[in-house]
Symmetry: D2
Subunit: 337 residues, 4 copies
C-alpha cells in the first residue's frame, strides 16, 4: 500500500527502503533535499513539502512522521493535521512522550483524524533485521495499516516459539503489537528503553568488576587477570545472561578489551528519564532502572557540585584534605568520622 | 575419559548423564544411595564412599565435586585430598567463593594435587543445552581434562560467530574458557550471577511499571491497559532487550500474565552477595547489581525494622499516624515535613 | 499587621495562634465551622466564606492559603484572585509543586495581584519552636509582609552563629529567607523534604544493620547484642550524625527499642517525588534521595509484581521453587544461576 | 588515673591533652620523636618504645592504641600483649574492623589480658567538644577505666534530655556507652560512619539539585536562582534537617557558595565499606548507605571502564558516537534504543 514518510534520517530512510523492498510505495519528504533525492533515486516519490506530500497520497492517507521527539514532531503533526482529511492517519514513529500522544490524539480525533504512536526498535540493524513495533491507537487504523507493520516487522524468524501462546495475538511473534489505546505504543517503547538501560548497566558493572580483579590495588596473590573478551564470548552459549546486548559486548571486546576508543561519556535519551518519572508517578520502586540513568549522568560529571559539598563537610568535621589526584581503590588510611 | 563425580543432585546427575552420552565413563558417589543406584542403572560405576570412588579411578585421577558451597564442599575436598595421589585433580564445580578456591588450591598444591574451580551455568537446561563453564586453575590440568569440558559445553551451535575473534582462544565459542589461575573460574561465574541479578531486576521493574500503567490510581484518561504477555513476546524479535531471560519471561507471562502462582518472595545465593563484596573491595561502583540484591532482601521483609524507624521519626516530627493498610500509589494528601 | 487565613488544620490553626501571640490580627475561614469557632474564641475574626474574609480585610490585603496541595489549593487561589484587588497578596503556604507556583503567579500578575509561595517547615512543633520559611515571589510583597514572617520564624535562638555570614541576608539566621522568584520557595522546601527522606533512610538502614548484629542467622560467636536506644542517645553528643532526626529517634527508641507500635508502612508526600523529578529533569544524579523514596514504596508492598516476575524467571531457568515463608537472612544453599 | 597512649597523631595527641586537662597522667609513645617531645613538654611522660611505656605504667595497666586500622594496629596490639601482664588492658581506639576485634580479644583473653575496642567520634573538634565513645569489651575493664571515658566524653552539655530514659544507662547521655562484647564498640562506630555517609550524600544531592535550578539548560522562565548559603542557614532553625552536618555545610557555603576550593574527589574509609559488607552478610537492604559509598567511588573516576562498556554497546546497537565533551543536562535529541 501507500505511505507518506516525513523525516528521512537513518531510521526514516531505512523504513522507506524496507517498505519499498516489500512492494509498498512511499512518498517522502525531508528538510534536507539531498535525503529526498537519494530515496527518489531508489524509487520513492519525492515531495517538496508537507502539502505536496499530502496531495500526492490517495485517501484514506497514512503519513509516518519520523523526527526527533519534541517541538519539531509536535509542530509537524499539527501542521499535517491541518492538511489532511477525516479518515486519514498520522503515525508518530519517533520517541515521543506518551502523554503527548494522549493529548495529540484527542486533538486529531476531533478533526476525524486517526493518530498512531508507534514505538520502533531496531536502530541501525532494522533494515536488515526488521523493526520491532509497539503501536498505540484505535483498532480501525491499526488494522487498516497492518500490511505496513507486517512488512516492517522482523517476522517470526528462527526465534523458537513460546509455549502457551496459542490463542493469543499472532502479531506479537511477528514482531509487532497493538499495545493499546493512544500512548500505549510509546509507553511500551519507553519501558523497553528503561529496561535496556538497566541491562546495559548490569553488564557494564559486571565487566568493570571482572576487569578490576587484576587491579594492582589488590594483594598480589589475590589478583586474577581475566580475559574479558573470552568471558563475553563464553557467556553467549548456555549461560543465563545470553542476550543481544551481550553479543554486542562480545564484539566490542573482541576488537579491543580495553575499549580505548571510548571516553566513557554516556548520553541518555528522554525515554530513560520518562521511565523514572512513570515509576515515581505510579509509586513503583525502580531502583535498578533509576541507578542506570544516574550512572549516565555521573559519567558526564553531573555530580561535581555534590562531590564538592561532600569534600567541604569532610574538611569541616575531620580536617580532611582532598587528594590532589584520585586515590587508589583501596581504602585510605582510615580517615575518621 | 574417566571422571569421578561426588554429589548427584540435579546438576551433578545431569553432568554425569551428558558425559556418558558423550562416551565418557563415570564413577559416582552421593550420600543418598538411591541417587547412586539411579545413575548406576544408567551405566555409571557406583561407589560406596570417597575412598571407594578414588580406588575405582585410574591415575591420574579426576574427581568432580558438585555440592552446595560451604562446609560440605570444603570438607569433601580436603578429605579427598588425603585419599588422592600427586598428579591427581580435584574439580570444584559448585558455587564456591573464589577466595576459598585460592586458599584450597594452595593447600592441594603442596601435596602435588591439581585443583580446578569450575563455574558452571546451565541449570535445569544443561543436560540438553550443555553447560557454560568458566575454569580456574593451572594449564596442565585444564588441558588434560579438555575432553570432559568439551563434551559438557554447549558447542558453537547456531549462535552467530563474533567478528574479530580470529586468533583468540577457540574454546570460548564452544562454551567454556580457561578463565585464569585458581579462583578465576568461580570469580567469573560469580560476576555472571551478579549480572544475572541486575538483568532480572531490570525486567522485573520494567514489567511492573508496564502493568501499573493500568492502575486505578491514575486518572481515567491516562490509564493504559497493556497486555504484558504480548509485550514480552514482541520484544523477542528485533528489540534491544532480546535475551534468554526475556524468553523465559514471555513463557511465564503467556501462561499467566498475573503470575498468581508466585508469592514474590525471592531468595538469593552467595554469589550475588560476593559480587557486591568484590565491588566494594575493589572500589567499583555497582549500583545496579547491589540494588538488585537488596530488592531480593526487601522481597523477604528484611527491611521491616528500618521501616518502623521511619514511621517512628515521622510520628515524632509530624505527628503522622501510620495507615492501617498500605495506601494507594498516589501521594497522600501532602503530609508535611 | 493583618492577615487572612484559609485552612485551619493543624498547620493553619497554629500559624494563626503564633501570629496572634505576636500581636497580629487574623481573619480566619475553614469549611469546618467548628475550626473557625475555635479560633474565634481565641481572638481571631471569623469569616463565613472567601468573599466575607476578603471583605473583612483592609487593602492592601494578604491572605494565606494553608490547604493540601492540589486541586483544592488551586481552586481556592483562583477564586480568591477573583475577589481581590490590585496590590493584594495571596500566599500559598502549603506544599504546592513549584511549577504550579510559577504558572499561578503569572496568572495573578496579570490581575495586579502578588503571589508568594512559602515553604513552611515545623510540623507539630511549629507553634512552640517557630516555622522555618522559604519564600518565593517578588520583593515588594515579601518586604511588605516581613512582620508576619519575622513573627512566625523561630528567631536566632540558641543556635550558634555561622562564621562568615557578615554581610549576608540577616533573615536566614532568623529562620526565613526570600529564596527567589515565584516557585523558589516551594522548590527549596521540596529539596528540604527530599534531603529529609535521605537522612531518615540513612538512620533507618543504620539502625536496622545495628539491630541485626544480634541476629540468630549469624554464627553465635559473631553475634553482637547492642542496645539501640543507648546508641541513639550516645550519638547525640559529640558525634557527626547529631541531628534533630536523631533526637526523635532516640526518643522513640527510649520508649520501645523494638518499635512494636509501628507496622513499618511508610507513606510519602508529593515533595519526595518532585525532588526526583527535578533531579531527572536537571540531570543531577540523586541516588540516595531516590532510593529513600523507593524504600517507602517498597514498604507498602508496591514491588509485589516485580518480585513475582523474578520468581517466574528463577523457576524458568533454575527450577527454583519459592519458599513458602520468607527464608532466613543467610544465603540459601547456593541455588544456581 | 594513669593511661599509656601509643600513636600521637591528631586524635591520639588530643585525647592525651583532654585527659591531662582532666587530671589524669599519661605515658606516651609515637614513632615520631617530635610528637613525643611535644606532649612531654605539655606534661606527659615520654616513653622510648613499647617496652619502656609498659614499664612506666603501674599494674593493672591500660594502654590506648590510636593508630591507623590495619597491620600497624594489629602488630602493635600483639607486641604489647607480649609485654603486658594478666589483668592489664589494651584499648584499640582506632577504626579497626569489628571482626578483627573479636579475633584479637580471644587471643588476649587467653593471656589474661583485657581488650577494649573503642569507636571514637569527634575528629578535630574532640579536644574541645569531647569524644563520643562506643566501647566493646568485658564489663570489668570498662568499669575500671570509667574515669578515663567519663573525662573524654562530651558530658551532658546543653543537649536537651530525652524523655523516657529514666532507668536506662546514664553513661549514654554523657556521651559514651558500653556497647556490648568485644567488637560491639567498633561495630557501632562503623554504623555511625555508614549513616554519616548517607546523611552527607543526602545533603550533597539536595544542594546539587538546588543549585541546578538555575541551570541554563532549563527554559528561561523555569530557572530559579537560589542562594544556597542562605538556604543552608535557614534550615538550621526549625527545619527537620537540622544537624551538625548542616551547620558545617552552612559554614562552608557562607565562605564560598561555589566551593571552588574543592575538586570533588572524595575518599572513603574502611568503615563505609564494612557497613555495606555487614548489610550484605545480614541480608539487610542498605540502598542509601551503599549508594553513598558508590557515589564516592564514582567521584574518583572508578566507573570509567563501566562507562566505556556502555558506550561500546550504544555504538553497537544504535551507531551512537560519543560526544567529544560532556553534553548539557537536557536530554540529547532522542537517540534511539
Amino acid at each position: 500500500m501507500q505511505l507518506g514518510m516525513i523525516g528521512l534520517g537513518r531510521m526514516g530512510g531505512n523504513i522507506v527502503r524496507r517498505l519499498m523492498q516489500g512492494g509498498h510505495s512511499c512518498v517522502v519528504y525531508d528538510r534536507n533535499a539531498q535525503a529526498v533525492e537519494a530515496l527518489a533515486s531508489e524509487g520513492a516519490t519525492p515531495a517538496s513539502g508537507l502539502a505536496d506530500l499530502v496531495a500526492k497520497l490517495d485517501a484514506p492517507r497514512a503519513v509516518w512522521v519520523m523526527l526527533p521527539a519534541g517541538r519539531i514532531t509536535e509542530e509537524t503533526v499539527l501542521e499535517l493535521a491541518g492538511l489532511m482529511a477525516p479518515g486519514d492517519t498520522i503515525i508518530d514513529g519517533g520517541n515521543s512522550m506518551y502523554k503527548d500522544d494522549i493529548r495529540r490524539a484527542a486533538i486529531l480525533r476531533e478533526k476525524g483524524l486517526h493518530y498512531l504512536d508507534v514505538g520502533t526498535s531496531g536502530g541501525v540493524w532494522g533494515l536488515e533485521r526488521g523493526y520491532c513495533m509497539m503501536i498505540g491507537g484505535d483498532k480501525e487504523a491499526v488494522d487498516r495499516l497492518d500490511p505496513i507493520f507486517a512488512c516492517l516487522a522482523p517476522g517470526i524468524g528462527e526465534v523458537p516459539r513460546t509455549k502457551g501462546r496459542e490463542g493469543r495475538d499472532p502479531r506479537a511473534e511477528q514482531g509487532y503489537i497493538h499495545a493499546g489505546p493512544n500512548g500505549a505504543g510509546h509507553y511500551v517503547k519507553m519501558i523497553h528503553n528503561g529496561i535496556e538501560y538497566g541491562m546495559m548497566q548490569a553488564f557494564a558493572e559486571g565487566f568493570d568488576i571482572l576487569r578490576s580483579a587484576a587491579s594492582e590495588d589488590l594483594p598480589e596473590d589475590q589478583r586474577l587477570p581475566i580475559d574479558v573478551a573470552d568471558v563475553a564470548e563464553v557467556w553467549r552459549r548456555g549461560s543465563v545472561v545470553t542476550s543481544w546486548l551481550l553479543d554486542l559486548t562480545a564484539s566490542a571486546l573482541a576488537e579491543d578489551p580495553d575499549l580505548d576508543a571510548f571516553s566513557g561519556i554516556v548520553e541518555d535519551s528522554g525515554e530513560g528519564r520518562w521511565t523514572v518519572n512513570a515509576a515515581v508517578e505510579q509509586a513503583v520502586p525502580a531502583d535498578v532502572l533509576t541507578a542506570a540513568l544516574y550512572a549516565r549522568f555521573r559519567s558526564r560529571g553531573k555530580a561535581d557540585y555534590a562531590n564538592k559539598v561532600l569534600s567541604a563537610m569532610r574538611k569541616g568535621f575531620g580536617g580532611h584534605q582532598e587528594p590532589k589526584a584520585a586515590p587508589a581503590g583501596t581504602p585510605a588510611k582510615a580517615p575518621r568520622g
